[in-house]
Amino acid sequence: MAEIVPAKHQAPLPMSQLILTGGSEGAADRMELDVLIVGAGPAGLACALELAKLGKLAKADGAELNIGVLEKAETLGEHSLSGAVVNPRAFRELFPDLKDSDFPFRAPVTKESVYLLTADSRWRLPTPPTMHNKGYYVASLCEIVRWLGAKAEELGVNVFTGFPAASLLTEGSHVVGVRTAASGLDRDGKPGPGYAAPNDLTAKVTALAEGTRGLLAQAWCQWQGVTSDNPQIFALGVKELWETKQPLGRVIHTMGWPLPSDAFGGSFMYPLEPNLVALGLVVGLDYKDANLDVHALLQKLKHHPLFRPYLEGGELVEWGAKTIPEGGYYALPHRRSGDGVVILGDAAGFVDVPSLKGIHYAMQSGIIAARTIFAALKAGAPSAHHLAEYDRLVDHSYIAKDLYRTRNMRLAFKDGFVLGGIQAALMTVTRGIFPGWMYGMHADAEVGRRLTPGESPGSPGTPGFRPGSAEPLAVSKVDAVFKSGNATRDTIPTHLIIGKDVSAEVARFYSHVCPAGVYEEVGGVLQVNAPNCVDCKATDVLGPRWTPREGGSGPKYKRM
């Protein structure tokens, strides 16, 4: 076969296990809350915080709101990963009495540079207007999440870590809560010695803040027939945190090498401290070459003369990966609210690719949702009708305005780097008036991937890759997963749903898609090393479908 179309080999969403009716059996325990938030990321925690504040203010009216936040990581922040350069706007709105210096940021952005890279050289480019970061802060999303979580707990929010939400509980068209994943299953899926049954949590309103490629958000949209103008598309970001000998004093972004011209993406390097540097490579998952391996490309990137001097003599302290929704304005679901449910943050697609920003949009969506939910609860009616106010408010907020302005920018790059660049420039110059139409986009899985004849084994992407003396700064996928802090139980049942007709070529393609070495092609057959998974969701976009595992599985990011 000359090309692979990933969609042909993907399994559909396992709807029968994702959407359950409220009274169904199987749960050990049942807890009732007023508001349930799925995901303790910036969106979920901002929502919880704003709700708790509103609840306290209105205390005279009645009892305090019972708010619960479910988080699949063992400890707050362990599944959070981002660059990041943060716009403090949403923090200021959430905490009007605090100053920027009180917020969990590392350093203000002072200098920044954008480069176009070639294999051994670089061209300094003027910083595109969409990418100006003056007044913003370099931060670690893990630290942000831990900080928000502590504030939320101070206000009485119940944060339940180690509890992934596995299914939606529904009554008619109403979302009434979620069921958590069971834990302690053995490799064959049967209860082992440490077995703990799932729990049901019911609430008047459920806010889905699962982050990128949220499973329940996808399921709800499919169940309720909610569509978007364009399908959502994704990029995969692979990131490393280094303690360096050479200090870094500026924020760096690059485009070009090592990406092929028909792939969209770029790299970043940010100083959390002068000698603590975050760097990563982000690549759109609509790339055309079946052998493209983002982790491998990052390893090459580190040896470029721009990056190498900073990293030489330093130490890799953490590694991680996560996908980013890139579809922008036209990929937002037509409604992000329904009976008893709202969708926040990355799960809804509130990310602006040209400025590489999502955290403050996530938080802002959480704040807006909290106000809507609070009003709906007071009116005693958490129905689609009342919760639609959330959509209306978002559509009139800077979230929608910003996303509209850059609505076609990422999409233009489907035509390649040069044409894309020209169109993007036009969009920038006209402040989003050009073009007057929507660029159609295919879902990533529908895009065909060229097979390159004669791929050499041991190429940097394969899990078997071992860094040689030519690439001393490179790390293999096996060691990278170790650096993500992943300590998932080895005997856990696999959480990935393989599709059909997975040939040797498709297996090899998967092995390049996954940055964590979950997939290998061994003797022509797909081998799945499920415990390696770091929940980046690239597999869900292009390969086997992802479902949640027992709480605490996956990475343990500390400062990513």
């Binding site: 325990d29 119940n158 180690g162 440490g194 703990a196 729990n199 302290v317 300590a487 343990k556 500390k558």
Partner: protein, 244 residues
């Protein structure tokens, strides 16, 4: 039974150890703190046998550690709050013994050691100070009324020990399978009583000179080829590596 379990807040076992600038302590930036894993066995054993009070000696943040034990099912907690716990284990033992003395406990449980300092002493020292019988590193425990039988691992076998109650037991891995806090337990933990008592410890008689990284792992060597290399390998393992 009325049971006290002494617990400690320690850095997670996967912590990447960085030395603080004073050269004498752990740099705590970004370190995740957890309930000492050996103490989990102690808490679990207590929960299976009676009413549990958890006692911890540590900084204010140790309240979170106590809440973890409360979420598992313990009934109440006491924090003996102090910012610095000296390197001298006897000081810690004295503080805990003073708190436990009036309690009339049937059983006092500890983990056999803390995974940060590896001191392996506070439990038996507290027993000594309270004049109670003590069995350490217990991997199996049976209690019948006011008598108990414990099993502990020793080189080449298992020591079976009898003792009367009240007693102090330090728990080893394998004593039981600690439970995960249930959702309801996490919520209930917030309402359970947690008393904070500031304490002042003596400096103790141990003075920390330095905390240093371990010696660098030397580059490995290929000893030889084929079975002929084995005698040399064994010699190196014995004399150089000292593992045989």
């Amino acid at each position: 039974m009325k049971i006290a379990v002494c617990i400690k807040r320690v850095p997670d076992s996967e912590t990447r150890v960085k030395i603080a600038s004073n050269g004498k302590s752990l740099d705590e930036a970004g370190v995740k703190f957890v309930l000492n894993p050996y103490d989990e066995f102690a808490v679990e054993e207590g929960l299976r046998r009676g009413e549990v009070t958890v006692v911890s000696l540590g900084p204010a943040a140790a309240q979170e550690t106590i809440r973890t034990a409360l979420a598992m099912g313990a009934d109440r907690g006491v924090l003996l709050q102090t910012d610095t716990v000296p390197a001298d284990g006897y000081e810690a033992a004295q503080a805990l013994a003073a708190e436990l003395k009036p309690g009339g406990w049937d059983l006092i449980l500890f983990g056999k050691m803390a995974i940060d300092d590896y001191n392996q002493q506070v439990g038996p020292m507290v027993a000594e100070l309270l004049g109670l019988p003590c069995v350490t590193a217990v991997a199996h425990l049976e209690i019948d009324g006011s008598k108990g039988v414990a099993e502990r691992e020793i080189e080449g076998g298992i020591e079976v020990v009898e003792f009367p109650l009240p007693a102090v037991i330090t728990a080893d891995k394998g004593l039981n399978e600690p439970r995960y806090p249930a959702l309801k337990g996490i919520m209930a933990a917030k309402k359970k009583p947690l008393e904070v008592k500031p304490v002042q410890l003596g400096a103790g008689a141990f003075e920390v000179v330095a905390l240093t990284p371990p010696p660098e792992r030397k580059e490995g060597k290929i000893v030889g080829e084929g079975p002929g290399a084995v005698p040399e390998l064994v010699r190196l393992l014995r004399e150089e590596a000292k593992v045989l």
